[in-house]
């Protein structure tokens, strides 16, 4: 394993609310190597966005409690001063967000918003920054970048705005790009373009990417490794190939089973995971997926650790089921139980 670029160790984020403490992120650990694409997959409220926002310390909630370490090139970001953290943000670790319609400031020109980030982190003058902004817009595929650079966000379509966001994020050549559901708010046709763009640019810019999504189909193309999150913790973590071809956690099976597929006999119905995500204030005892898991047994009342249970050392999961049994039982979930 190469030296990790980013290492998150036992990150816990909780929010005090009137109803109790919400454990949004409950002991998440992962590493990110240079130029790697890590997919973080999970449904809404599983803690994937909160995890990555906490890495950049972008949550400004007085009721938030954070613990754990976020080591970036050996430095713990959690311990940096405000000013040092600002130097990391946008320069070494950049982030793009879910909704490009609201993520750009409506009152400033696209170009100025890109330049602002460049001028904050680089020692160059305004004309040079502007030139760079035009180049960046070209790189992300904005036609007539030289004139569109002076447009306001409302003159851009949703896809173009997300491209502009990507340009802004890559402006300082960051080592890590965090993309928080970058395609969720976009049309399906645009989604694929944006993912392809990220895939291409990560090579051009030598950046590692953390791609947060609720859609396994999105990460299927470009991720190297995938972490599946459920109820604030990682339930399965492994190389993309292992995760797709030898998934260990019943929740992962559910996610895989709920993707429509064209390469298999058509299932009469897509699989859906019964029930709703558990309360993060008083989560169920033992395995957090137990109440929704059709394969739960007595042992599941105990909390399973995230460890390797198969012959691959870096394929981790939190499930007590016997891997040999799982190969049989998961088939129905993934391939569609009532297939014709």
């Amino acid at each position: 394993m190469p030296q990790p670029l980013l290492e998150v160790k036992d990150l816990r984020v909780s929010f005090r609310t009137e109803d109790g403490v919400v454990k949004a992120v409950d002991g998440v650990s992962f590493t990110l190597s240079p130029r790697e694409v890590l997919g973080i997959v999970g449904e809404s409220g599983s803690g994937k966005s909160v995890t990555m926002m906490s890495v950049l310390r972008l949550i400004n909630d007085p009721n938030m409690l954070v613990s754990g370490e976020v080591l970036y090139k050996g430095r713990d970001l959690m311990k940096l001063g405000k000013g040092q953290m600002q130097e990391v943000r946008g320069d070494e670790i950049a982030m793009i967000f879910q909704d490009p319609m609201t993520s750009l400031n409506p009152v400033y020109r696209i170009g100025d918003q890109i330049c602002e980030g460049i001028l904050t982190h680089q020692d160059i003058d305004k004309p040079a920054a502007r030139k760079r902004a035009v180049e960046l817009l070209q790189q992300v595929g904005i036609p007539h970048a030289g004139s569109r650079v002076d447009d306001f966000p409302h003159q851009f379509s949703g896809g173009m705005r997300q491209r502009a966001m990507i340009a802004m994020a890559l402006a300082n050549n960051p080592d890590v790009l965090i993309a928080d559901e970058p395609t969720t708010a976009l049309d399906v046709t645009i989604q694929a373009q944006i993912i392809e763009l990220i895939d291409k640019l990560k090579d051009d810019f030598d950046s590692a990417v953390v791609l947060i999504t609720h859609d396994l189909g999105v990460v299927a193309d470009i991720a190297d490794r995938i972490a599946v999150m459920y109820a604030g913790r990682v339930v399965e973590f492994g190389a993309k190939r292992d995760l797709f071809y030898d998934p260990q956690h019943p929740y992962t099976w559910g996610l895989l089973g709920s993707i429509p597929r064209l390469d298999r006999p058509k299932a009469s119905r897509l699989y859906s995971i019964e029930g709703t995500p558990p309360s993060l204030i008083s989560p169920p005892q033992g395995c957090k997926f137990r109440p929704r898991c059709p394969h739960a047994f007595e042992k599941c009342m105990e909390e399973p650790e995230l460890v390797s249970r198969v012959d691959k050392r870096d394929h981790l999961d939190r499930c007590w089921l016997d891997p040999a049994t799982k190969r049989v039982t998961r088939y129905n979930t993934i391939e569609g139980g009532r297939a014709a």
């Binding site: 950049l56 400004n60 600002q86 982030m95 409506p106 602002e116 904050t120 409302h154 994020a169």
Partner: protein, 323 residues
Amino acid sequence: MAVFIVRRSIGLIAVLFAITVLTFLIFFATPGVDPTRALAGRNPTPETVAAIKHQFGLDRSLPVQYLLMMKRLFISRDLVSYGNQALKVVPAITSAAPVTFSLVLGAAVIWVVFAILTGVLAVILKGTIFDPLLMILALIGISMPVFWLGEVANLVTQDRLHNTFLFHWVPPLGYTPLTSNPWQWFLHLVIPWITLSVLYIGFYARVLRANLLDVENEDYVRTARAKGLSERRVLLKHMLRTSLITFVSLFGLDFGVLVGGGALLTEVVFGLPGVGKLTYDSLVKLDLPVIMATVIYGAFFITIANALVDIVYARLDPRIRPA
């Protein structure tokens, strides 16, 4: 821009027409209002009343009377007050307007500057004791009626502490035109400016703080932070500008109202012969020509102020700029 101005001017004329007709009708529909009585003096003979009615055109039909009044107001500009025939209405307004302008303009500068400072400071100090403290201070400012505050200011600066080093510079109540002595103009207006602006500082600071806190949760503020901008830059560049939109629209209305005669209480308390005082006096005497003139003047400035607000809006927010 030209289209904008033309459209606004047509709007202005329509507003002025509507408001003059309304004022005119209200005046004549008010029971017990008979300008002849004021004009004719005590115990007039029926002949005198008839003569005066004829002289002032009060025996004509209402539309004709309206047109006559507009003609004397705008074209011959020799409309006189019903109560005091030596008082020509148009010069009365033009001599009162600079006083009101001086008062409101100075107060507006003070209130905009201090409201922004207070609002922004409250947001910076959010989570500390100073934020609620500032807001309570603002509330106190809003709660003090301007006539009371003005009288207290007068009591302190003109009487109790006038002979101390603090307030010996405060001139007696009244007004000195800017053109005759700028320094005296300034000295006369300092206390009225502060008095008038206190209410608005409090109000605008609270509005701005609320807007800033709203904007703080916007996605683009998160983007700005993710770019690594300093908190100061995020606040002043990304949050303040969008928050100022409510501020500006309120300002336009308040400024228009005050210039249009709404600073009446301040003018009366400080003995400033402005439009507010003129309006007040004419209303007390039901003096239609003066009321009409001040109403037109007020409506004119409120409309102008609103047009200016729209221009500033467009500067602040490119989305509403005409293509």
